[in-house]
């Protein structure tokens, strides 16, 4: 119990410092108040035109599609991550060594930083955009199952963090892993359903996506938000898909631990 309380205290302290640090650059976050709604407007017109007189496409109604993109934007603000960039920078400059000497696991430190950073995102990105979507665009932005949505977003938060952290750890071997990160960003943008719902992909690819981390980072929480989940022709109950997401997150955490141990053995701290 004492251990957990101590961990929470550490997390609070790191998150608070990160929050204060990034608050100095809050206009950086506030760019989203413009960018998010503009992209949403573009999506709105694209899909309104694409639907034409059709009532549904690939099992999704237009209203569900609009909600999908609204939810995708908002959830993106809560789960966004750049642990990979940070870790890669620390390794390349040799500054990771200072973390190896601290009485705190770097991953836990990075996770605490993400908590602080995303609290800022909640205040300066999520809340303003939520009001723009609901009051200005009149989009129904209330999740069908609030509790499950909250849990799914929390799992997506973890998934995003651990996947990006694993990606960052590639720098232990390649030092300059910006190329790998760019490829991943590109693939995750498409295969996590940010640009288009995954039900639009060919069936074989949809099946394969169940075994990849991408859908659990955005598509699953967004579909849970809309109240219906379907992929590869499989319709799942919300608790089932959130459970599956939980398993995927647990697997990613284990994988992260294995890679971290191997990485630390490989790390030689040159450049510090």
């Amino acid at each position: 119990m004492k251990y957990i309380r101590h961990k929470i205290e550490v997390m609070k302290a790191v998150a608070l410092v990160t929050y204060k640090e990034w608050s100095a650059y809050r206009t950086h976050s506030m760019v989203s108040i413009f960018v998010g709604p503009v992209y949403f407007i573009v999506q709105y017109f694209i899909w309104t035109a694409a639907y034409g007189n059709r009532t549904e496409l690939n099992g999704m109604e237009l209203s569900q599609m609009i909600t999908y993109f609204g939810a995708s934007t908002l959830i993106g603000y809560l789960t966004m991550d750049f642990a990979d960039w940070n870790l890669q920078m620390l390794i390349r400059t040799g500054r990771f060594l200072t973390f190896a000497l601290r009485p705190i696991h770097h991953r836990f430190f990075a996770f605490s930083q993400k908590v602080g950073h995303r609290v800022l995102g909640l205040i300066f990105e999520f809340i303003p955009c939520y009001f723009i979507f609901t009051l200005l665009f009149r989009i129904h932005m209330v999740p069908k199952h609030f509790g499950w949505t909250l849990l799914s977003v929390a799992l997506a938060f973890l998934m995003n963090f651990y996947v990006h952290y694993i990606l960052g750890m590639t720098a232990f071997w390649f030092t300059q892993s910006s190329g790998i990160r760019r490829v991943f960003d590109l693939l995750s943008g498409v295969f996590s359903g940010v640009f288009i719902p995954l039900v639009f992909f060919p069936m074989g690819l949809q099946k394969a996506l169940f075994f990849l981390p991408f859908p659990y980072m955005s598509y699953v929480p967004v579909m849970v938000f809309t109240g219906e989940f379907s992929l590869a022709g499989i319709q799942m109950e919300i608790p089932t898909i959130v459970g599956l997401q939980g398993i995927a997150v647990a697997f990613t955490i284990l994988l992260s631990e294995v890679i971290y141990k191997a990485s630390i053995k490989h790390f030689n701290g040159v450049g510090a």
């Binding site: 650059y25 206009t27 950086h28 760019v31 413009f34 960018v35 503009v38 992209y39 407007i41 573009v42 017109f45 694209i46 309104t48 035109a49 694409a50 639907y51 034409g52 059709r54 496409l57 690939n58 300059q176 190329g179 760019r182 490829v183 590109l186 943008g189 498409v190 640009f195 288009i196 639009f200 992909f201």
Partner: protein
């Protein structure tokens, strides 16, 4: 004489860019591949929409791809030739060493563009060109006059891109170190990637007259599709005005810049 000197400077900068790319060959190849993949993924959305049986009324998938390929090629040329001015300006302003550029006996705007010439976007251009050829092979063969219209409109589209780049760079003088400035303009530019008929008139007014992003991909592509008319040529005026605005604002911000002696 002055122009000759500027051509020589530009040539030297291009040589340096090639030398840098050949030094970091792996990075260059990787960037080209990434841009190529990105190129394939961008029209994928359109293909998936049409693949699901939906589409934009009055537009075939190849016509939409034509718009998007023209947009991509324009983006690639901009990335190679003048987009670097934003990052260069932002970096110099943040570090307080723009004086090092200002004291040189060359136009600041020109020098920053020349110095940031990058061949990394060649992959993007090749990808865009490939989609362009594929799309073109599925539409009626354009006449010589249509090609002429296309070239003029494409160049004007590039001037809009340059106007946007200069506005972004000018913004970075006041909004110091905000790496998200391009996102603002990218979001506006995304209106130019689709047939303008899907947008309401109010949006159309903005994308053709205020921030003429429709000129980047849409209008040049419609010229090739034989939909160009004299009215389209009138839209050249706001595009030129937009470029002049970008240049004027950038030069104004350079004049306002106060070095900190760093």
């Amino acid at each position: 004489m002055k122009i000759k000197r500027y051509i020589l400077i530009y040539r030297e900068c291009v040589k340096v860019a090639f030398a840098a790319a050949s030094t970091y060959r792996l990075n260059f190849i990787l960037n080209c591949i990434i841009m190529l993949i990105g190129d394939i993924l961008f029209p994928l959305i359109t293909i998936l929409i049409y693949g699901s049986g939906a589409g934009f009324e009055g537009w075939t998938v190849y016509e939409v791809l034509l718009i998007q390929s023209v947009f991509t090629m324009s983006m690639a040329i901009a990335d190679m030739t003048f987009h670097g001015i934003l990052w260069a300006t932002m970096g110099h302003v943040r570090q307080g060493d723009l004086e090092m550029v200002l004291i040189l006996p060359v136009d600041t705007m020109f020098l920053l563009m020349a110095r940031t010439f990058s061949i990394d976007a060649v992959g993007l251009f090749i990808g865009g060109l490939t989609i362009f050829i594929v799309a073109l092979s599925h539409i009626a063969l354009p006449t010589g006059f249509m090609w002429l219209q296309f070239i003029v409109l494409f160049l004007i589209g590039l001037s809009v891109m340059m106007g946007i780049a200069l506005l972004m760079a000018a913004t970075s003088f006041k909004w110091v170190g905000n790496s998200r400035i391009p996102e603002i303009f990218d979001s506006i530019r995304s209106f130019g990637k689709y047939p303008q008929s899907i947008f309401p008139k109010a949006v159309l007014m903005i994308t053709t007259l205020v921030i003429p992003v429709a000129m980047i991909g849409y209008f040049p592509a419609t010229a090739l599709l034989g939909q160009g008319d004299i009215k389209m040529m009138l839209i050249l005026i706001p595009c030129i005005v937009f470029l002049i605005l970008g240049i004027t604002l950038y030069r104004h911000m350079v004049r306002l810049y106060q070095g900190v002696g760093g």
